[in-house]
Amino acid sequence: MMKKAAFALGYAGSILALIFSLMMIYTVPYKIASNVVEQAKNGMGNKNVLAFNEMVLHAGEITDWSERGILDFAASVAKKSDVLTDRYVYENTASFAYGVAWGAIICAVLIALSVICALVSFIGSLVCRKARRGGGIMMLVSAFILILAAIYTETILPMAAACLLLTLGGIFALVPAGKPLAARQSARMPQAPAQWQNLSGYAYPQQPYYPQAPARSAGVPFPEEEPRDMAQSEGERNITE
């Protein structure tokens, strides 16, 4: 029962996670763009736009892509410029652009990671039928990474539902299934039934013996004969007599 619930929840959660993580391809760039416009409206002026434009025109001269290198580049453009000479405007704009670019790169990596995690959780939900612990761990780890990515990219609302399903699926997969006491005891101390015993003291399985059983599955005609019990074969009947 728990295994079925784990599979169903994990399967539904992973499909939702795949859909929402792919939708991040649209929602995240839109959010980044609207954040930039909002920040430009509130914290920047015309001078910043002019400075940015001039730095873009000289972008080929950037050799060091670290923050310090970008700030040095901004200062060098300010020195050469005949439009604006205020070094701080250039540096502020450069540091703003640097932050936005890093944010965009991190978001791109997180989107790719989310898609991969959604696929891993999908595989985990399929695996949990045969390997419950492995499947459960795959689902839980994926749900954790997906929720972190959703928090960073501000797309928590749709992804939370998928992560909830995945987490429940993972927990159900990891919880050991309860068995009746008798079944557990028999599992600990296997005992052959008395009728299996024969005089030679050897225990035979009670299933009827089919000499040509593999041939049946291969589609070869199967001879009509009664199933023969090993315990009652000719030799043993003689011993009994």
């Binding site: 399967y11 499909i15 795949l18 859909i19 792919l22 939708m23 391809i25 649209y26 416009v37 430009a40 409206k41 509130n42 920047m44 002026g45 015309n46 910043n48 736009v49 002019l50 696929l119 999908f122 399929l126 049946r216 599955s217 291969a218 589609g219 005609p221």
Partner: protein
């Protein structure tokens, strides 16, 4: 259960989900990509070309104060409002007012995309539903061989039809082929069972 059919259905279903969500990009690209690239190559150029002039004229049409003559936040807000309210007839009006053919071309592309968007919306949602149905069918086929197989095959056919509606058949076709093949294999059943069915038919 036919293992090969099951694997094909699952892979096809996942691909169908992926391509359904990406249909927004691929659909627009196949539908209007050529027109947009032709428009940009005709009107772009050194220093923005016609596009820079069009930007200024749009600001003028919607009475946005020019750049550097006012505050930046008002400039951005003015353009935001302009793009929110802009229609194809406004662009045609601009083409007449400023005597620029580029606005006429843009109006044609705008009208074409505007008519296409409802189809795209329906296509994406329907494809998504069909691909999820295919994934459910692939699981159901483990227990209900024929029912699950029919679900997978019909979902594969539906994804092709809806992606055709959305104007982007090419990527979805691969997923649909996998789904149809997987569904048919699931319906046939496992090899051993087929052999025993043949045998029982022969005995009868």
């Amino acid at each position: 259960m036919n293992k090969a059919g099951y694997c094909l259905s699952i892979i096809g279903g996942v691909l169908a989900v992926v391509f359904s969500v990406l249909l927004v990009i691929t659909g627009l690209l196949f539908f209007a990509g050529n027109d947009v690239s032709r428009f940009i190559s005709n009107n772009g150029g050194q220093g923005g070309g016609n596009l820079g002039k069009m930007w200024e004229k749009i600001g003028d049409y919607y009475k946005v104060s020019p750049f550097l003559s006012g505050r930046l936040d008002k400039y951005i807000k003015g353009y935001e409002n302009a793009f929110e309210t802009m229609t194809a007839s406004d662009l045609e009006d601009m083409a007449d007012k400023y005597g620029m053919d580029s606005f006429g071309d843009l109006a044609r592309i705008y009208r074409k995309i505007d008519a296409y968007l409802p189809k795209l919306r329906i296509g994406v949602i329907a494809c998504l539903i069909a691909s999820v149905a295919a994934l459910i069918g692939a699981q159901a086929a483990r227990k209900y061989r024929v029912g699950g197989g029919i679900t997978v095959v019909s979902a594969g056919a539906l994804t092709v039809i809806f992606s055709l509606l959305a104007g982007s058949i090419l990527p979805m076709a691969a997923a649909s082929v996998l789904l149809v093949a997987g569904g048919l294999m699931q319906m046939k059943g496992p090899k051993a069972q087929r052999a025993s069915d043949v045998q029982s038919g022969g005995d009868a």
